[in-house]
């Protein structure tokens, strides 16, 4: 097969499928529709709560899938047995930028059951390997929402102040963070913790050392140790230099409950991969256990630079009404056998082409 024929996203889907199957993830195929109730009850777990709905023939209100994870969790009978699946599906949701519905091509994986350190490690590793498939120049940012919450709890118990801090930390907005600290009469120690959180990105070892030096709670300390182990394991992957800690992405704790990560690829101005641990969704749906997974937004890959195509087709076979049909067939066939892209036309088309075979003068 000629790889040049494939678009970036198509190439990625093939390579990712092989990668996930290698690690024992099973393909999961699902219907495009889901009962609307599923989304109505779990709105906070959706990127956007607006979904495309329609009434099915039996009167049920249905929705075009805005999300894949909810359906996979719903279809998981028991979380006792660990379940590993991957998918490649289109979802339909409102784009934040255009405020219009968009079809989004998404691939990803989910691991549901009794989740341990190894499962989290595997998910982060596969996220990094997935990005590596798309481009060598990638960054995978990792954080932990439980550690983030624990540090915030150490700083203040005031919910309003905590959420104001979380928003500013997500924006890396140090100047306004300093203002909030001042306005709330924070002590030097409290302010220092805030500023350590604001600088908590980059090399994992340095970030964890800085957090360790200011954190006091048992929960925070345990989480720091857990992250240390995680990064030590990742250190052996060969991709470690591209995996960093970044606590600016830890403030979305409604969905994620632990490790959270986002992946960026050079040349695409937004995150192409997003994932993490989402035990709270399982609890919400009355299922025991935990879950970890991620999604890759393949439609973004069309923004990656491709070698600009100089021609639309290689050859135009020009013929007239008097040209014998077998001459046209022969000329087209000749091009196809050489692997060229060819069009038979009576007039030169408004396309970019390399050569022209003119058969207009041939007569039977």
């Amino acid at each position: 097969m000629d790889e040049r024929l494939l678009k970036n996203e198509e190439k990625a889907v093939f390579a990712l499928r092989a990668l996930y199957q290698n690690y024992g993830y099973l393909p999961f195929k699902m219907s495009k529709f889901e009962e609307y109730d599923l989304y109505a009850y779990n709105k906070e777990f959706l990127v956007s709560d607006r979904v495309i709905t329609f009434t099915d023939t039996d009167g049920k209100l249905m929705a075009l899938k805005p999300d894949v994870t909810l359906s996979i969790v719903k279809n998981t009978q028991s979380a006792k047995e660990k379940r590993k699946v991957f998918y490649s599906e289109n979802v339909y949701r409102v784009s934040e930028r255009t405020n219009q519905f968009k079809e989004i091509m998404q691939t990803g994986l989910e691991c549901i059951g009794e989740i341990g350190l190894y499962d989290v490690f595997e998910a982060v590793l596969l996220a990094a390997k997935s990005l590596d498939v798309i481009s060598e120049e990638f960054v995978l940012s990792v954080a932990d929402t439980v550690l983030f919450e624990a540090v915030l709890e150490e700083i203040t118990a005031d919910k309003k102040v905590k959420s104001a801090l979380a928003v500013l930390l997500a924006d890396r907005n140090r100047d306004d963070l300093a203002r909030v600290c001042f306005e709330n009469g924070f002590t030097k120690e409290q302010t220092e913790k805030v500023m350590v959180l604001a600088s908590a990105y980059g090399d994992a070892e340095k970030v964890l050392a800085a957090l360790k030096s200011v954190c006091a709670s048992v929960q925070a300390k345990e989480k720091i140790e857990e992250l240390k182990t995680l990064f030590a394991l990742l250190g052996e992957s060969g991709l470690a230099g591209k995996i960093r800690l970044d606590f600016s992405l830890a403030s979305n704790s409604a969905y994620y409950s632990g490790t959270v990560f986002k992946g960026y690829v050079k040349g695409i101005p937004e995150a192409v991969l997003s994932g993490g641990r989402y035990d709270s969704l399982l609890n919400r749906m009355g299922k025991a256990g935990g879950a970890v997974g991620f999604a890759i937004y393949l439609d973004l890959l069309e923004q990656l630079e491709q070698t600009a195509k100089a021609y639309d087709i290689d050859c135009v076979v020009l013929y007239s009404d008097s040209t014998p049909a077998h001459s046209i067939v022969k000329a087209v066939q000749g091009c196809v056998e050489k692997g060229e892209r060819v069009q038979a036309q009576k007039e030169l088309p408004a396309l970019r082409y390399k050569t022209v075979i003119d058969l207009r003068g041939e007569k039977a």
């Binding site: 930028r97 960026y264 050079k266 101005p269 937004e270």
Partner: protein, 211 residues
């Protein structure tokens, strides 16, 4: 190369002076020309002028790695960007203004004319006041004069325009200043370069050096 979107106008020129002082100069920018893009390959920076309200779009979409935008624009449009530095320039306040004889009759829905719909809605939602928002794109001061609205929500610097139109500030509720913003993905790949720029400019601001 770090692409920097500067807001056209006096604020943008002041911001460029800051960059110049921090060592990221691009002398051709001061030549009187119709050029829109200016580059200093040696320093690894490229500046371009855009409409102030468009800066955040350029940065969020990655056409610029860094940019300078007002806090009002950031609060209104919520672009997904990092807000790395308060440049302490272009200072003003988001304020409610009305005719001198304005009395807030809480029995009626308050008619609010503004360019900043989200900011106005959030401000009045916090107060629990029901409002009818009228979105305008310019000459907001006209609205209360012609009884199109009871009040306006707008950014106010000196209040001169308000005074000239016999309007008064009812309440200033949000301090505004220019912020240096960064594209999140680009920040991941240019962390050191961007941090160096932010650090140098931050130091100049901290030392209060005159520009």
């Amino acid at each position: 190369m770090i692409n920097i979107a500067l807001p056209k106008g006096r604020l943008g020129e002041k911001v460029y002076d800051l960059f110049e002082k921090a060592g990221y100069d691009c002398p051709s920018i001061k030549e009187n020309s119709r050029k829109l893009i200016f580059e200093n390959a040696e320093k690894g920076v490229r500046f371009f002028w855009v409409k102030p309200s468009d800066v955040a779009i350029y940065v969020a979409r990655g056409a610029a790695d860094l940019g300078v935008a007002g806090k009002d624009i950031l609060l209104e449009y919520r672009p997904d960007v990092y807000e790395l530095l308060d440049l302490q320039m272009g200072k003003c306040s988001m304020a409610v203004a009305a005719k001198k004889d304005f009395y807030d009759d809480t029995e009626r829905t308050l008619k609010v004319a503004t360019k900043f719909v989200r900011i106005a809605k959030e401000y009045y939602a916090k107060k629990g006041r029901e409002i009818d928002v009228i979105e305008l794109h310019g000459s907001i001061e006209l609205a209360p004069i012609l009884n199109l609205s009871d009040v306006i929500v707008d950014s106010v610097e000196t209040g001169a325009t308000l005074r000239e139109n016999d309007l008064v500030v009812v309440e200033k509720f949000l301090p505004i200043s220019a912020r240096m913003i960064a594209n999140k993905a680009s920040f991941c790949f240019n962390t050191e370069k961007v941090e160096e720029i932010v650090k140098k400019i931050g130091e100049i601001l901290k030392n209060g050096e005159s520009l």
